[in-house]
């Protein structure tokens, strides 16, 4: 029972974690991309489409990431090159992604997908309890953890990470030092797009191998909330994603146990939890302000 719960928590948390780690890097570079939901849902539809047409879930995952990057470039061009309002452009990306994915996915509704294979190491995966949890996951689960460590290392231990943080904290100074603010931000937004695309592809290739319109169901927005919850620290995003995974799973198990509570109220739990967590975090303003990239959401036009 406990093992089953842990396994379902992992599957619920992974898409959130992938998207949140990507958005974290984007925000660290000073860009607020509210279009995570749109990039995720595009990743979901592209991941499903590529999987079904090539027969390879691995290619599907790549397709999801590529789709996320392509739509993120739309956002990057409008907000970085044309300095449009980032909040409104992020909303535009979400509305566009939800619309386009619905259109692209119309012919895939009801088609069976192919599930991404899980790791199977003889001897290890069959170990009692820990075997399946540690050695029996699919590649995206491991990738999400690699991303947490990789991004943490990149931001705090590498020169490129330092430049990215400088661009996010004070774009005028970074520009004066000769760094390409816009270039760094383009790369960050594309990374965010790829990660959101992977998160979406996880939903349609690993979580439930199906395409359903709007199947992200607000997970992109929850990922955005996770970044705030994490105070822009990757390992805290992982804790947050697993807490949310647990809340989501609680819902299913409560239903399965036949607790006499309307299912709609249980389904509200992740969204209500997001609101409560955001309130709790914003109450602690000093910690939040300390970590918030100072140039977050501010447009930058290079002068000479």
């Amino acid at each position: 029972m406990l093992e089953a719960i842990i396994l379902t928590i992992i599957t619920a948390a992974t898409p959130l974690l992938l998207a949140a780690v990507g958005e974290l890097v984007v925000e660290k570079s000073g860009v607020l991309n509210l279009g995570v939901e749109g990039m995720m849902v595009m990743g979901a539809v592209a991941g499903f489409a590529v999987t079904v047409s090539t027969g390879s879930p691995l290619l599907g995952i790549v397709g999801g990431a590529v789709a996320g990057v392509i739509v993120s470039l739309l956002f990057a061009f409008v907000t970085l090159t044309l300095v449009a309002n980032q909040v409104a452009s992020g909303l535009a990306l979400t509305l566009f992604g939800l619309g386009l994915s619905g259109l692209m996915g119309e012919s895939f509704v009801g088609q069976p997908g192919i599930k991404l294979a899980s790791l199977d190491i003889p001897g290890l995966t069959t170990l009692p309890f820990v075997g399946k949890v540690l050695f029996g996951q699919d590649i995206l689960v491991y990738l999400s953890f690699a991303a947490v460590f990789g991004v943490s290392w990149f931001l705090n231990r590498t020169r490129a990470g330092l430049i990215l943080r400088a661009v996010g904290d004070n774009h005028a100074s970074a520009h004066a030092l000769g760094y390409s603010v816009i270039g760094v931000r383009y790369l960050a937004v594309m990374f965010g797009g790829a990660m959101a695309g992977l998160g979406g592809a996880y939903l349609s290739v690993a979580y439930t191998p199906l395409w359903v319109e709007n199947m992200t169901a607000g997970r992109g927005w929850i990922a955005l909330a996770l970044v705030v919850f994490a105070s822009w620290m990757p390992w805290r995003a992982a804790i947050g994603a697993y807490l949310f995974g647990a809340v989501t799973v609680l819902q299913f198990h409560a239903q399965a146990l036949g607790i006499g509570f309307p299912s709609q109220f249980l389904a509200m739990l992740p969204y209500l939890a997001t609101v409560i967590v955001l309130v709790a975090i914003s109450g602690n303003r000093r910690a939040t302000l300390f970590n918030t990239p100072s140039s977050l959401g501010k447009p930058f036009v290079p002068d000479r």
Partner: protein
Amino acid sequence: MRLELVKRSEKSRLMSVLSPVVAVALTVVFAGIVFAAQGHSPLAGIWYFFLEPITSLWGVEQLITKATPLIIIALGLSVCYLSNNWNIGAEGQLTIGAIVGSIPPILFPDFVNPLVLPLMLILAMVGGALFALIPAKLKTTFGTNEILTSLMLVYCSNLFLDWMVRGPWRSPQGYNFPITIDFHEWAVLNAVDVGGIYLNLSAPIALVLVAVLAVVMRSTLKGFEIRVLGQSPRAGSFAGFSNRRMTYFAFALSGALAGLAGMMVVMSEIGKLQPVISPGYGFTAIIVAFLGRLNPVGILIAGLVIASSYLGGEAIQTSLQMSSKLATVIQGVLLFFVLAADTLILYKVRLVTGREGEGAHA
């Protein structure tokens, strides 16, 4: 070769009128490319999508019906966005407004008299406003990001409506369908014949609201306060304006208008509550608000433009056998173009070739 932005010394008045037109023109071109890519004649596609639906009186009637809620909601959102309050949960405020406003005909079905109609509209506005005040209160008290909270509440409100119509409010005569009882005669908006097209009360209400907000924004202190606090909260507080109060005001107003719009949609098109009462009016109204440049008269025009894309989606489905979902794509693209075209108001855009660009740096 790259694009370079040169800041204008002041806002271009010409461009602030022209930029939405540019955006719509680019969207039409985009649509033409999509039609061509799908093997249709671009001109035929553009005709069926943008123009054919409004060539009949029935089409005009549908256009006004769809545009009305969009305009009403977008008016409220424009006040929010102008004052830097990012309410994107209008869809949820619409839903809760419609639920609260439906209390009289559902819980008191024997209370049948002309008072019910205004009572429902008022209750819907109160319900929508109170629901919108939740993110406002969280923002002013805890500094919680209102974008995320207002959006999360949309999911909650839709689930709440779902529970209401399947649970406590399900009609005993509904053959187990998730619907409430039908509203009585004073709880619906009847359409009357206006020169060949049938309209109900909601369209004139929208027009009055446009006029009122246009006057308020142009020539009252409140309109000035909204704009000042949006552009510079610090300057606004020196003038004695309160950011807190403005947040409450903007959220309550947009929530009330979303509730009103939702109630009128239910009262005119559905006549009862059901799990889905809006085709995403609360989200599409965000596009309307920006396309209308957050200006009441602009929103009136933008509402009609966006509403025509709903009709266009249905039209290409019947005439070209294309998916009606293309409409949402075109709406999203339009918002991108609107935001991009707005750059022209503040900047001149120059295409710099390699050599010239280096020369400028030297």
